[in-house]
Subunit: 217 residues, 2 copies
DNA sequence: TCAAGAGGTATACAATCGTCGACACGCACA
DNA sequence: TGTGCGTGTCGACGATTGTATACCTCTTGA
């Protein structure tokens, strides 16, 4: 699995790797591959299982961290305070994801490649992972953030959109190191825009009442 | 180029195609490939040029259509009317993109595969195409829609995010035919949420003043 | 008229590929 | 004690790959 990741990270896609190639890079006999995996799909799913659960757990744990620090979002009874804390939460989450992709650059690159790749099995597995992250995010948010009049389903839809958009932001982040600070701001801004929109759609008076300028990020 | 598209559409990625394979499928001698293309990257870029400009032109033309029909968005001096027309424009644009990907299913699938694929050349070309579409969208919107207090740069950032998100919506649309109506609604809703957010961020009083419910889509 | 070149073909070579059958080692368990 | 079984190795097979060299046939333009 390590050998496959290293080989795929440079230029190739997982499915285009040669069985012999991987075995050679791992210092093993080509046939040994069959002892462990049936397919390359099989190998891919195994790798995704490992790294995917690590990512998911890391994200959850990190989202819990502020809650343990006594960081608790208001129920918007004080709109100004609620909005400010929403911004802080968005910033924390974005930083988290971007740090993760920097720490797991190779795995992330290869994984995303499979998201729209050739193997239906891997595509489905990646979509399930992203969806799982969105579900996690929704549940965590519901426990911490009381968005006024925003239902569970609405929140899930927003989370899904955010997760998918972060795929692109993450790619930019990796590919354009000189613009990292700017990209991070763009991502935060995008998330805030969405929540602003969600609130404005349900309780527009809340925003004008708060008389809070949208943060100039 | 046709042969390559047909071969890639089923399962494979462009870069993983064999030179001989494509030539065989096109009824030509393997070496003939070299008469026309240097690389597979070369072939890919040529294909993207053709289909990309077609898509871009199609989108522009279709965005111009409502303007010619006398469809003209207000400057939000009447907020309720402006918001309603913004919704109509969003619906029109979403339908447009989704129709296009249905009509060019193979090309779209292959293209997106290259967006996060192995070849840096193709990746860059695809990113340039998406960015170009976002720029087009921004210019068209500026000519038709006077969003209050939303600057050119802000609009471009929103357009970029929309284009990228439509990549995912389009994939869902192709892969889940039974949910097409629902996915279309989700896409429209996403776009409206963004614009709602952009307006709320700059002129929150406008939304509460309009006393307009967010469309229940 | 004829030379150049674009497009297409045929043959060949060395590599690499996935996979098969057979064999070897070591541990676990009856 | 011995017998599966998981793991790894070896050699070989036919197929396919990218590309090099050489040759053919039109079209074009001076």
């Amino acid at each position: 699995m390590e050998a496959a990741l290293e080989l795929a990270a440079t230029t190739r896609s997982l499915a285009s790797l040669g069985l012999r190639e991987v075995a050679r890079h791992a210092g093993l006999n080509p046939n040994t591959f069959y002892r462990h995996f049936k397919d390359f799909d099989d190998l891919g799913v195994a790798m995704l299982d490992e790294l995917g659960t690590e990512l998911r757990a890391g994200l959850r744990e990190a989202r819990m961290r502020p809650a343990k620090k006594g960081f608790r979002l208001s129920d918007f009874s004080n709109p100004a305070e609620g909005l400010a804390q929403a911004q802080a939460l968005a910033r924390e989450s974005v930083g988290l994801v971007l740090d993760f992709v920097m720490d797991h650059r190779e795995a992330y690159t290869v994984g995303i490649r499979e998201l729209h790749g050739t193997s239906p099995v891997m595509r489905q597995a990646m979509q399930d992972l992203l969806d799982g992250i969105a579900v996690d995010m929704t549940e965590d948010l519901l426990g911490v953030l009381m968005l006024p009049a925003v239902s569970h389903e609405e929140l899930l839809a927003v989370a899904r959109v955010i997760v998918r958009q972060m795929v692109f932001f993450s790619m930019d982040y990796l590919e354009q190191p000189s613009r990292q600070a700017e990209i991070k701001r763009e991502a935060e801004r995008f998330i805030l825009l969405l929540f602003w929109g969600a609130i404005a759609a349900r309780a527009p008076e809340l925003l004008s009442q708060a008389k809070l300028k949208f943060p100039a990020i």
